[in-house]
Amino acid sequence: MTQTTAALPVSRLIEAFNKLPGIGPKSAQRLTYYLLRAPSDEARALAEAILEVKEKIVLCSTCQNITDSDPCAICRDDQRDRSKICVVEEPLDILALERTGSYKGLYHVLHGVISPMDGIGPDELKVRELLTRLKSPADVREVIMATNPNLEGEATAMYLTRLIAPLGIRMTRLARGLPVGADLEYADDVTLTRALEGRQEV
């Protein structure tokens, strides 16, 4: 990057953008020069939005989702089915599940996944918080494991099943099979096997 020619505040902003995921040096320059020409209201609104995210967002003390009010909107909603908890890896997974509109239960965010080779075990995740939730008299009858269907997600699901099954709570796992619009010839053996096992009457 040739920042020697740019004024210091400009190059500072370019560098700050450059640190963001998915933004390379060119995009960082483009964003910076856009903001230079944009009305100052727009720049202030962006700056305030960024600060607000850092200052007001906390983790929901119940489900560990990111929220600006504790407990979060989902945990407070008395229309939701409190007998089900869906366990996900990241807050973004909740957005994806909510978009379907077909799940009305509660959630629990682990904030990661068991990854032995990266040194991430249950203690680094929000596992203890989940167990506390299940042991309190909240009448949870089903825990749905919605971790990703890869090695680490499966390991996490198996480990949690080991912890939770003795509590007498029903453990379920999201079905694994072929995604909509997929091509059979490219499917891997594991997915195809699972898809066959989970076949349904038409």
Binding site: P116, M117, L151, Y159, P166, A182
Partner: protein, 261 residues
């Protein structure tokens, strides 16, 4: 100009790291090209046709294209999946430990066919054997041998005296077994039982089938595990992270015995 742009290889996927929005870097142990990193594009999208074929602990046939920095996976077709390594946590934990050791110990792009074969055989065994821990011990000892860190178990490492059937010493620092006299003077030495020494020798020289035929009590197995773990850590000069997960599993109530594959 003579280097082809695309090339084929088989390999065992050791590890994955996230890259950017939807990509992953996969670390592959190949039979002839050693360990290498390659980018698998788009594998975090649900409709990826590569994703299932580049999961860790699968043996896969790859088509790779040379990239500017990292090579890129253009096609992948799994050859062996080992379903039980994914469905039984005890097996998963040990298989990941074996993969991590190989990843830590092997240099990039340096052919090491014996290590490849050892890992493939170990994954097959971990997918089917009932005695998972002894399978891992066999793997550790053979891996040390292939990499040139074979512990000395025939005579005392320090004075060369032949070892007697008494409690000897074990020292990772010295590189193997110490006679009682030398062990007394070596600060890092730990007592090594007669039976543990016998099993160590068998792990080095015997076949896998011979090792599986030997009955070992739980405390003998944990003694050998301690000694070999210490040795591996000394050689690696780093912690093996997956070992902690195996410990977590041992502490967690639940099915302690592996399910039959």
């Amino acid at each position: 100009m003579t280097v082809p742009r695309v090339y084929k290889t088989t390999g065992i996927v050791l590890h994955q790291r996230r890259l950017g929005e939807a990509d992953k870097i996969v670390t592959i142990l190949t039979p002839n090209l050693g360990k290498l990193d390659a980018v698998a594009k788009g594998v975090r999208r649900p409709r990826s046709k590569l994703a299932g074929h580049v999961e860790p602990l699968t043996y896969t046939s790859f088509m790779l294209a040379r990239g500017r920095e990292l090579d890129i996976v253009t096609q992948a077709q799994m050859l062996e999946v080992f379903p039980s390594l994914r469905e039984d946590l005890e097996r998963t934990g040990r298989a990941l430990y074996a993969a991590e050791l190989v990843e830590r110990f092997t240099p990039e792009r340096q052919e090491s066919y014996p290590v490849f074969r050892l890992l493939l055989e170990t994954l097959r065994r971990l997918a089917t054997e009932a005695r998972l821990d002894m399978t891992v011990r066999f793997f550790e000892m053979r891996l040390l041998g292939h990499l040139g860190y074979q512990p000395q178990t025939e005579e005392c490492v320090l004075c060369g005296a032949s070892l007697k059937p008494v409690t000897n010493g074990w020292s990772a620092e010295a590189g193997g077994v110490l006679c009682p006299a030398c062990a007394a003077r070596a600060p890092m030495s730990r007592p090594l039982s007669v039976n543990a020494l016998k099993v160590m020798r068998l792990l080095q020289k015997g076949s896998f089938a011979e090792v599986m035929r030997v009955r070992t009590a739980p405390d003998l197995e944990s003694e050998i595990e301690r000694h070999l773990r210490e040795y591996v850590l000394y050689v690696l000069e780093r912690d093996v992270r997956s070992a902690r997960f195996i410990e977590t599993l041992r502490r967690t109530p639940g099915t302690s015995a592996p399910r039959p594959a």
